[in-house]
């Protein structure tokens, strides 16, 4: 069985390694073959960008060579897919090669699209790429005070990021001794400060305790860089001296160009993770249209379920389990305290008060991630 994995991010890498372990005898005998097609020979630890924006890590700490993360037996090809020929069980790459498959897994991820909001890219700081995170660090480093507004587009990768960046900005300015010269103002698209009700119930009083003002039902419409004002779809506006944005995201262009899903999100069965209407095409991570968090942990848990199922298809002839919607997100509540939210399709999260212990566990996880990507954790 030829298994083709598109994308070398968290979902694709964990899936490939999980399968390589489960299918070790089949890989050895030639009964199974795993090939990964990816756009880069480097693998980035994307959650680290949040820390890069504050100068707490440097860019080089976020990368490893993709080849070093993969189990022996996996064929890695650095050549992104340009065409999906699903009826023929085939893909074509930018380099002009074709690859046939029996099972296809698509994990191409998502990308920030600040350009969809007039004025946003030119007038705000963000941290979703290495380049923008470094720029944000430099801006924060020289910032001497004023009104800092946090504005949030939807959908966005890492649903905890709006809260985390706000709490971390508070502690950053406090440590620099300029908190009395800074007014932090948080905005959020729906009628509370976070989509998770229990997280919102915890975060709103925290904002009040820390003197952070907030405004809900605020969906980004445009930014007037001259007047330094950000305007909402709801008809309100708020002035800023420094605008920090969580830009809206879209799936990758190759998904849209191949008409696999509007917005780059592929219609996906929420339990079996197969593309709707295709039994041998699976989707994981940000690429799905499943209404759950676009987060590394989602990709991780989906990859584990899918690894078990695809291995079972090879060994038993059919999948053996469902993905239950499990997500686990750390929530940094400042520079040295954190909590977490764990939930699935049926059970909402119940976050506990932040502690230093959880923060240090997150710090440890930032290093342990590489074991996670290798499928060891």
């Amino acid at each position: 069985m030829k298994i083709l994995i598109i994308g070398g991010g968290m979902g694709g890498t964990i899936l490939a390694n999980n399968l390589a372990r489960r299918l070790a005898p089949e890989l050895k005998s030639g009964k199974a073959k795993i090939t990964m097609l990816t756009a880069s020979d480097k693998h980035m630890y994307q959650p680290g960008l949040l820390y890069l924006a504050f100068g707490r890590v440097t860019p080089d700490e976020l990368y490893k060579d993709q080849a070093t993360l993969l189990e022996p037996g996996i064929t890695l090809v650095v050549d992104p897919v340009e065409e999906f020929l699903l009826d023929a069980n085939r893909v074509k790459t930018k380099g002009g090669k074709t690859f046939d498959y029996d099972v296809l897994a698509i994990s191409t991820g998502s990308r920030p699209v600040p350009e969809l909001i007039p004025g946003l890219a030119e007038n705000s700081e963000t941290f979703y790429t290495e380049e923008t995170a470094v720029k944000m660090f430099r801006t924060l480093h020289s910032f001497q005070g004023g009104r800092v507004v946090i504005a949030v587009g939807v959908p966005h990768k890492c649903p905890m990021a709006p809260l985390e960046i706000t709490f971390m900005l508070h502690d950053y300015f406090k440590d620099r001794g300029i908190l009395d010269k800074v007014q932090l103002h948080y905005t959020y698209p729906i009628g509370r400060v976070h989509s998770l009700e229990n997280v919102a119930k915890w975060a709103a009083p925290e904002f009040e305790r820390l003197g952070i003002t907030y405004e809900t039902l605020f969906n980004l419409k445009e930014v007037d860089g001259k007047a330094k004002v950000v305007k909402s779809e709801e008809g309100t506006e708020t002035p800023y001296d420094l605008l920090i944005s969580i830009p809206a995201h879209r799936g990758m262009e190759v998904i849209e160009k191949n008409k696999l899903g509007a917005g780059g999100w592929i219609p996906t069965n929420r339990h079996q993770l197969n593309m709707e209407g295709r039994e041998n095409v699976f989707v994981l991570g940000d690429t799905t249209n499943i209404p759950i968090s676009k987060a590394g942990s989602t990709a991780h848990f989906e990859a584990e379920a899918l690894g078990e199922n695809i291995a079972a298809m090879v060994k038993l002839g059919s999948p053996v389990r469902h993905y239950d919607g499990k997500v686990f997100c750390f929530i940094e509540a400042g520079k040295d305290r954190a909590t977490y939210a764990m939930f699935d399709y049926l059970n909402p999260p119940d976050p506990k008060p932040p502690t230093k212990a959880v923060h240090w566990f997150k710090m440890a996880y930032n290093k342990l991630y590489w074991s996670s990507a290798r499928g060891l954790l």
Partner: protein
């Protein structure tokens, strides 16, 4: 030509039904209708509140076996 899209946000705690609706309404064309499926009773009040504030049309809601079907038309 206007389209109708079902946004299945059943069991969505995060991003949640309203955030899902906002995401898909941004991808829709003016005149399109979106039917949001939600298992969160709060959507029955959250969604019309947001729709009214932004200026889209709220076309109605009904409950069927614990699932709320909330229909909205994109107007701008």
């Amino acid at each position: 030509m206007s389209e109708r899209r079902v946004v299945d946000a059943r069991g969505s705690f995060c991003p949640g039904p309203l955030m899902e609706l906002i995401s898909w309404i941004k991808l829709a064309q003016v005149g399109d209708e979106l039917e949001l499926l939600s298992t969160d009773k709060g959507s029955v009040s959250d969604v019309p509140e947001w729709v009214k504030k932004v200026g889209h049309d709220f076309l109605g809601s009904r409950e069927e076996s614990g699932v709320w079907h909330i229909t909205v038309k994109k107007t701008k």
